[in-house]
């Protein structure tokens, strides 16, 4: 056995034995191995014993040196640990700090946490803004849809206003073929008398019923949509303000009402349509602007970070072209469309980006282009043309209304609407209540000058002689007092008596058309004057002795022979017949008084 070497403190080295042992083990001798282990263990024990003795036998100076070395080693270890921990701490500190800064992320091409946080915060805000904008865009589109539906309904359709007249009178039709068909006298909303057969009336009533059903259900749908939209729009004060007037008017409408469409419903609906027109003007522009904003946003949202250079170039050109779009300048759409048509988007290899671009500008390979850009281009041109149409329509003179008003005034005096204040003045201005005295024979109106020439005549019995000029003066005042006419001129007062003894006064006046919305001082003047006249009439009525009236003899006849000397007794009953009214003649005990009495009586009866 070789002698084992010892370490500086006398500990024997065990290398040679274990090496030999392993060699023997490798040789595969198991019994040898056990014996060798036992022997070596004995040697180790004796060696340890020897070493204890040898330690004690080491000189003291050497032992101190060794101890000092050991202490130094321990201190060094402490220092080393300290340094390691401090360095680790500092490293940890810097690591977290650097992690937070862009150092590692930039180094390894990854995103810094704070940058990521900021980017995602920005993305979230952008998403929320987009969400809010999209909601607003949607709401405004729904508003436009709603007002379009409101404007599309026509409650002024004559068929809706048709009503079967009560106490209808059956008369034969005046037609070329001698049919025996009987007709009913009906009056339409304009006060015109129309003769219709029973079959025609039933057909009209059926048509009306179908139309009423259609419009009332359409109106119910509109109200439902308005209600939902109104609830949603409460969160958006800007739109709510716009819609408030429309919603208020619509809320007052009951589409299931019994007498649909009642005057109240029509009045609310007319106000709703007026509000809808105002809303539509604004909302159409707003929707176009939203669409353009959306188009631009869509183009800027295309991510070109990891795409080919060609794609980048196409997208950049597209963005530049789209940025030029301005809803205020329709030609900017033509320019942008021209530029975009020149772009070859088929070069784009990334399908996702290609789809996004197609959504904005349409697919050049498809015949039908339903892209957002084309919709916006259509709308921008539509808007300009709609404005032109609205301007032209607004400038139009509604001649049928002008003629109707002129005829109404010729019969009743100035229009009732302007004489508000709670007092109906028609009774005081019943210039020609039966439409028999004044006849308007011709109208000639010119839009450019806003003037109208009226020609006609007033034709009455001889008794009318004393009132003919007054009647014409009343008529002129009534035209002047009307909200529809002003500056009456060119009148000449003259009268003539025909062979039948009737008094004829020609009527020839020029009028200027007046905007009914503009208050004319003379209208008020006349109105006031007419109010005074009404008060006077009330006084007249009080002064009439009804009992005395009964003693007056009246006769109504078209028989010229009885006109001059008729002195029939009035028996408390007036007999009128359609065919005789043209030649009404009045006589009384005292001829000079009879005209005034008749007029007073006529007015009372009219009341």
């Amino acid at each position: 056995m070789p002698t084992d070497s010892k370490d500086p403190i006398g500990k024997p080295k065990k290398t040679s034995f274990w090496r030999k042992l392993s060699e023997k083990q490798a040789a595969g001798s198991e019994s040898c191995l056990v014996n060798a282990i036992v022997r070596q263990a004995e040697k180790e024990v004796s060696s340890v014993k020897n070493s204890q003795f040898s330690f004690e036998r080491i000189p003291e100076k050497e032992s101190v040196e060794k101890e000092k070395a050991r202490v130094k080693l321990a201190n060094a270890r402490t220092l080393l640990w300290f340094v390691i921990i401090v360095v680790a701490g500092i490293w940890l500190y810097f690591f977290t700090m650097l992690h937070e800064s862009n150092y590692f992320h930039a180094k390894f091409g990854k995103e810094n946490l704070i940058t990521e946080f900021n980017r995602k915060t920005e993305l979230l805000q952008q998403l929320r803004t987009d969400n809010r904008d999209t909601k607003k865009f949607s709401k405004l589109l729904r508003v436009e849809n709603l007002v379009n539906r409101v404007l599309a309904l026509d409650l002024e359709n004559p068929i809706l206003n048709y009503e079967r007249p009560e106490g209808e009178q059956v008369i034969p039709r005046e037609s070329s073929d001698d049919s025996s068909e009987t007709l009913l006298k009906t009056t339409n909303s304009n006060g015109e008398v129309i003769y219709l057969s029973e079959a025609e009336i039933r057909s009209l009533e059926n048509t009306r019923a179908i139309r009423v059903e259609f419009i009332s259900s359409a109106l119910a749908e509109i109200l439902e949509e308005a209600k939902i939209l109104g609830e949603e729009i409460k969160t958006d004060p800007e739109i709510e303000k716009e819609l408030a007037a429309l919603l208020t008017e619509l809320a007052a409408i009951n589409p299931q009402e019994k007498n649909f469409p009642s005057a109240v419903l029509k009045s609310h609906f007319a106000a709703a349509q007026s509000a809808a027109k105002n809303i539509l003007r604004n909302v159409k522009n707003a929707n176009l602007e939203n669409l353009v904003t959306d188009i631009k946003n869509q183009s800027w949202a295309i991510d070109t970070n990891e795409v080919s250079e060609t794609t980048k170039e196409v997208v950049a050109n597209l963005q530049t072209s789209l940025d030029k779009l301005s809803p205020q300048r329709p030609n900017s759409f033509d320019i942008a469309l021209g530029e975009i048509q020149a772009l070859d988007i088929t070069k784009i290899s990334e399908n996702k980006i290609f789809q996004k671009i197609v959504r904005i500008i349409g697919n050049p390979q498809k015949e039908k282009n339903d892209s957002d850009l084309l919709t916006a281009a259509i709308i921008v041109h539509n808007l300009g043309r709609i404005n032109t149409i609205n301007d032209l329509r607004a400038e139009r003179i509604v001649w049928s209304s002008v003629i109707e008003q002129a005829e109404k005034i010729a019969r009743l005096g100035a229009d009732l609407e302007r004489d508000t204040g709670g007092i109906p003045l028609d009774a005081s201005r019943d210039i020609d209540p039966n439409g028999e005295l004044v006849t308007l024979l011709s109208y000639s109106g010119k839009s450019r000058s806003g003037e109208i020439d009226l020609r006609g005549q007033a034709l009455g019995e001889s008794a009318y002689d004393q009132k003919s000029f007054t009647l014409l003066a009343d008529l002129i005042d009534a035209f002047e007092g009307s909200a529809y006419f002003k500056d009456v001129s060119g009148f000449i007062f003259s009268k003539d008596e025909d062979r039948q003894g009737r008094i004829s006064s020609p009527l020839n006046i020029k009028l200027a058309l007046q905007d009914p919305a503009v208050v004319d001082s003379r209208d008020i003047e006349k109105t006031e004057w007419l109010k005074v006249k009404k008060v006077d009439l009330e006084e007249d009525k009080k002064n009439i002795d009804i009992e005395a009236l009964k003693e007056i003899d009246f006769s109504f006849s078209n028989d010229s022979a009885t006109k001059k000397d008729s002195n029939l007794k009035f028996e408390g009953e007036l007999t009128t017949a359609e065919e005789t009214t043209e030649d009404w003649h009045l006589t009384a005990k005292n001829d000079s008084e009879s005209v005034y009495v008749f007029e007073a009586l006529r007015r009372i009866l009219n009341n």
Binding site: E100, I335, S444
Partner: protein, 219 residues
Amino acid sequence: MTKYTTRLRQGANIRLGITVIIAALAAVFMAWPNYQKLIKTHANIFELDSQIADSELELESERDQYRLLKAKYSIRAETDQRIIATILPEKTEETKIIRELEKKANELTGSDKSLVLESVNFGKATSIKDVDYLILPIKIKLLGTKEKLMTFLRYLEKTGNINSDDDEATRLLDVKDVSMKIKDRGSKTEMTEEINVELAVNAYSLPSLEEIAASNKAK
């Protein structure tokens, strides 16, 4: 001596322990806030991711609805375009006007010929300064009863309604001048008397979009 060295070794171990503890505390003290910040940032980013996912879902749903509305809006825009093209066409289209007028007159008149379209004269379309449309003057002569003539007049006054249905849209006709004269009352009543009417009507047309685009380019 043994005790001395033992104390030295124990002291070194204690110093080592204290140093380790201090160094660990210092490291924790220095790194902990940043570590916490890091954890918080991670949590915030996680929360953001969740909110972004929700918002994206909501946005997608809103966008779907917006797309549907936009599709309707696009259809409406095309309908408007067709209606506008009827109301204000890009050509004067006189023949179309005469067909429309005769059709309406025929609808109103019956076997009694209560409305007769006597003549329709077209003038030359002219442009006016500062407006982008052409004016086509038309003179119309009619003979008929008052009721039918007034209905015809009301029809003309209702033409060019932008809010009408696609198939009900009519060319915008503007009655500029009206002249009505009772032909001969005789024994006839107000309902049957014949009235001569002369109307000066304007129709309008617009330059085409291509012409506008060319004009814009020229500018």
